[in-house]
């Protein structure tokens, strides 16, 4: 169990950005304290730790705060630089990993438009989603993971969004799985890892959460 001097993660159970950090920490075997935040009633700690964005995840370590999931992942990879590395050591491979990890965040932004919007805008978002995932499929190719033989930075960055596909498919009335089978297969392989299985929630739970959000925000 983490001591009070160990790292603390401020997070929200279903946040895919928080899950990225949880997976990274687990892959690297880092012990930490998990603090669940109520995003509808943000704590003083969260507001003080991330005054700029007031968002999760936030990592508190050695009295300092680090915000933004990909930035936290890089920090964690650098500070706990032991055996397991999320980023490859070659500078070009690192550049590629950073590019694709950054791009993966757009999957969530696009997906949000799929479940929030209707009509033409929703159709555009659906099309964009499929195009993006096909690009990821091409990048994955025949590799086991985006990192090659080892699960890495891009895998960690992208995998949380796969538990949102069912939600996007249901609200968008389209299939993601059928048109991007390689992503589906890759996601299944990732789910066999303890770090991923423990961090992600069942697609149904994510769907329930989004139904709740729609009611809360009065979105039809």
């Amino acid at each position: 169990m983490a001591t009070s001097n160990g790292p603390v993660l401020l997070d929200f159970w279903v946040s895919p950005f928080g899950q990225r950090v949880r997976i990274a920490m687990a892959e690297k075997g880092i012990e930490y304290e998990y603090k669940e935040e109520d995003l509808f009633n943000k704590s003083e700690l969260l507001l003080n730790s991330n005054p700029v964005h007031k968002k999760v995840p936030v990592l508190i370590h050695d009295g300092k705060t680090i915000c933004e999931s990909l930035i936290i992942m890089e920090y964690v990879d650098e500070v706990w630089s032991g055996k397991v590395k999320l980023l490859p050591s070659d500078s070009y491979q690192r550049a590629q990993a950073r590019f694709w990890a950054d791009f993966s965040s757009k999957v969530y932004e696009c997906g949000t438009r799929v479940w929030k919007l209707k009509g033409e805008k929703q159709e555009a978002a659906k099309k964009e989603m499929i195009e993006m995932l096909k690009l990821f499929e091409a990048e994955l190719g025949n590799k086991t993971y985006f990192g090659g033989d080892t699960f890495g930075f891009v895998d960690t960055a992208l995998i949380p969004f796969t538990s949102w596909f069912y939600t996007y498919e249901t609200f968008g009335n389209f299939s993601i799985k059928e048109v991007t089978p390689k992503i589906g297969a890759w996601a299944k392989r990732c789910m066999e890892r303890e770090s991923v299985a423990k961090a992600l929630y069942e697609p149904n739970k994510v769907y329930e959460f989004v139904c709740f959000l729609k009611k809360y925000y009065g979105i039809e």
């Binding site: 930035i71 500078s91 690192r94 950073r98």
Partner: protein
């Protein structure tokens, strides 16, 4: 292209391209520059950035690196022994530099564009207030990052300096167009002092376009935008 040769695909007015040029200059790396035309993108651009089809793209031998902040880190890591470091050495300081760089691009660019496009005085004033708020945040960030030294990066220009610094010609050009102060010495005195030091650096003098040139471009873009709006 020979192994090890550098080529940068860009557009002269793009902040994202300018910041890469600044770091290449500072590192003393020679490179070939190719000006792109967005209405007619080159084969090279489409081949090397098929995902976004945007500039900058750094071509290094047979490698292509896209996204300005990714390129800056690539240069830092690949030429770590040459010239000053781009990112700080300490992981926490690196995280802070990365955080503010993302913040700058997320917040400043849309606000600068929206201010130019604002149709009423009220809308314009709201956007200007937004820019002030962002710059005031960066004033505070400067205090912490510089720790009393000349630049965000410390003694030498670094990642965060060029990320914000690449906007300077645009900020000053926009002030002339909208006839209002954005980078205000009364509100952000440290940033204005930093700006003076930044503009005096060789790598900046060689790469940052003049305010006059950017102002002319800005006025052309606004005119085109108005035409398009009226045509609808």
């Amino acid at each position: 292209m020979a192994e090890g040769e550098l080529k940068l695909l860009g557009i002269w007015g793009s902040q994202f391209v300018i910041r890469v040029k600044m770091i290449l200059e500072q590192k003393g790396l020679s490179y070939e520059y190719q000006e792109e035309n967005f209405a007619n993108k080159s084969e090279l651009l489409l081949k090397h950035n098929p995902v976004h089809k945007k500039v900058p793209v750094l071509i290094h031998g047979d490698r292509a690196i896209c996204e300005s902040l990714v390129i800056l880190q690539y240069i830092d890591e690949n030429w770590s022994g040459t010239g000053p470091p781009v990112l700080p050495a300490n992981p926490y300081d690196r995280a802070i530099a990365r955080f503010w760089a993302v913040y700058i691009d997320d917040k400043l660019l849309p606000l600068l564009l929206d201010t130019l496009k604002a149709e009423t005085e009220e809308a314009k004033a709201e956007k200007i207030a937004g820019i002030h708020a962002v710059l005031e945040m960066l004033e505070e960030a400067f205090k912490k990052c510089s720790a009393g030294k000349a630049f965000f990066g410390g003694d030498s220009i670094g990642y965060l300096d060029v990320t914000l610094g690449s906007y300077l010609a645009w900020i000053r050009a926009e002030e002339r167009i909208i006839e209002a102060k954005l980078l205000d010495e009364t509100k952000m005195p440290l940033l204005v002092e930093w700006e003076n030091r930044f503009l005096a650096a060789d790598c900046v003098k060689k790469t940052l376009p003049s305010v006059e040139r950017v102002e002319a471009l800005g006025r052309v873009l606004i005119a085109k935008e108005r035409e398009a709006r009226l045509a609808k």
